[in-house]
């Protein structure tokens, strides 16, 4: 069913990318506040009441006078505003991938947090390396799984068997975006663990 697989593709894509909802809502709320403020100032000016911050007339005067202000102030404020704009444009155009991986399966759209992959890898690496589970640190990113093993003092860790165990696990998960493994065995061991 191609219809079903395209549906699953859509779900997987949406679940592995940020919707940018929080940022969009924050921007919309600030825009609403700005519009309401401008509207209020206009009404106050029309009713000949004192303004809250600046009447439309004084705001226009302020803009006309901009070249007369100290150059450093004008450039500084301009740079801050431009940086704020950049801080919105960049996340809006960036893909915004979430810390998740997609498992290949026909039956459903399966999405797994990187954290879950990391803890499963940690357990198997600890078993293969014959160390305490607390002595293994794993971090999983979009492309790479970094496994850091701290040996127990006096017991050398068989790096090759750790590599084999981790790679076998990663292969078994059949992730859509396969990840490389990188095993780091610490130089010095930890006593008693």
């Amino acid at each position: 069913m191609s219809n079903q697989s395209s549906l699953y593709r859509r779900i997987s894509r949406r679940e592995t990318h940020s919707p940018r909802s929080t940022l969009a809502i924050v921007v919309a709320v600030i825009a609403i506040v700005a519009c309401v403020l401008v509207g209020t100032e206009i009404v106050l000016a029309l009713a000949s009441q004192p303004p809250l911050l600046a009447s439309p007339r004084s705001a226009a005067d302020f803009l006309v006078d901009v070249p007369g202000y100290p150059v450093a102030t004008v450039i500084g404020v301009g740079a801050i505003v431009a940086l704020l704009g950049l801080a919105l444009v960049i996340p809006a155009l960036a893909p915004g991938r979430t810390a998740r991986h997609e498992l290949l399966t026909e039956r459903s759209a399966a999405i797994v947090d990187n954290e879950v992959i990391a803890s499963a890898l940690a357990r198997h690496a600890a078993r293969a390396g014959n160390v305490d589970p607390d002595s293994v640190r794993v971090s999983v990113s979009h492309r790479e799984a970094v496994v850091r093993v701290t040996p127990t003092s006096g017991l050398p860790v068989d790096g090759a068997s750790v590599v084999a165990a981790v790679d076998e696990q990663l292969h078994g998960y059949s992730l859509r975006r396969s990840i490389r493994s990188k095993i780091i065995v610490a130089e010095s061991g930890k006593v008693g663990a």
């Binding site: 079903q4 549906l7 859509r10 779900i11 997987s12 949406r14 679940e15 990318h17 919707p19 940018r20 909802s21 969009a24 809502i25 921007v27 919309a28 709320v29 825009a31 609403i32 519009c35 401008v38 509207g39 029309l46 226009a60 005067d61 803009l63 006309v64 901009v66 070249p67 150059v71 004008v74 450039i75 404020v77 301009g78 740079a79 505003v81 431009a82 704020l84 704009g85 801080a87 919105l88 444009v89 809006a92 155009l93 498992l103 399966t105 039956r107 459903s108 759209a109 399966a110 999405i111 947090d113 954290e115 879950v116 992959i117 803890s119 499963a120 357990r123 589970p133 998960y173 059949s174």
Partner: protein
């Protein structure tokens, strides 16, 4: 799974961002480039005078209030309403019907989402490799899709969890006699961190 309009989210953010970039860039240009600064000095008073006379060109009969101010206020109100609609448009997409087939001569079949959700939930509750699970139903492209969110116990292979959930989904499909589309989400998170490590090997 929800039907948030993500393209619209990004468009709104980009529009405001480009606006700020433009204002900031203009201020930097006025401050740093002498020709821009002198052009601004030459043109701005004229523009301001033109705007003032424009906002006095269509006075409301018997008052000093101009129609154009009313138009600006109305435009602001429309923008605020659109932005509010935009905010409340986020999320959504749940559905209460899991099967709602077209009626045949024998009658029609309707299965509520609750039935499917509780059946899958019951099937998953006893499994030791899951700390917890939650099932909900969303409409994706007009098709009801089950969303199974499972919190994995620490150290459990994600493949095992997906297989477990898919077995439950297959059983539901057999039971209902209707295709069951589903999304499985396996997460770690706070509860998984507090729970004990798996003993399965």
């Amino acid at each position: 799974m929800n039907n948030t309009n993500r393209a619209l989210n990004r468009v709104v953010i980009v529009l405001v961002g480009v606006l700020l970039l433009g204002v900031g860039g203009a201020a930097i240009a006025v401050g740093s480039i002498p020709t821009v600064s002198s052009t601004w000095k030459d043109l701005a008073p004229g523009v301001r005078a033109n705007l003032s006379s424009f906002f006095a060109s269509a006075p409301l009969a018997g008052t000093t209030i101009d129609w154009w101010w009313i138009a600006v206020l109305a435009a602001l109100a429309v923008i605020v309403i659109l932005l509010l609609a935009f905010i409340f448009r986020q999320g959504h997409g749940h559905t209460g019907r899991f099967v709602d087939d077209a009626a045949t001569s024998e009658g029609s079949t309707i299965v509520d989402s609750k039935v499917a959700e509780q059946l899958v939930q019951d099937a998953l509750d006893g499994h030791p490799e899951l700390v917890s699970s939650h099932v909900s139903t969303y409409r994706v492209r007009r098709t009801p899709v089950l969303k199974v969110s499972a919190t994995a116990r620490r150290g459990v292979s994600p493949r095992d969890i997906v297989d477990t959930v898919e077995t439950a989904l297959d059983s539901l499909e057999t039971l209902l006699g209707h295709p069951v589309l589903a999304s499985v989400q396996v997460s770690g998170g706070f509860r998984a961190r507090l729970s004990s490590t798996t003993r399965l090997q």
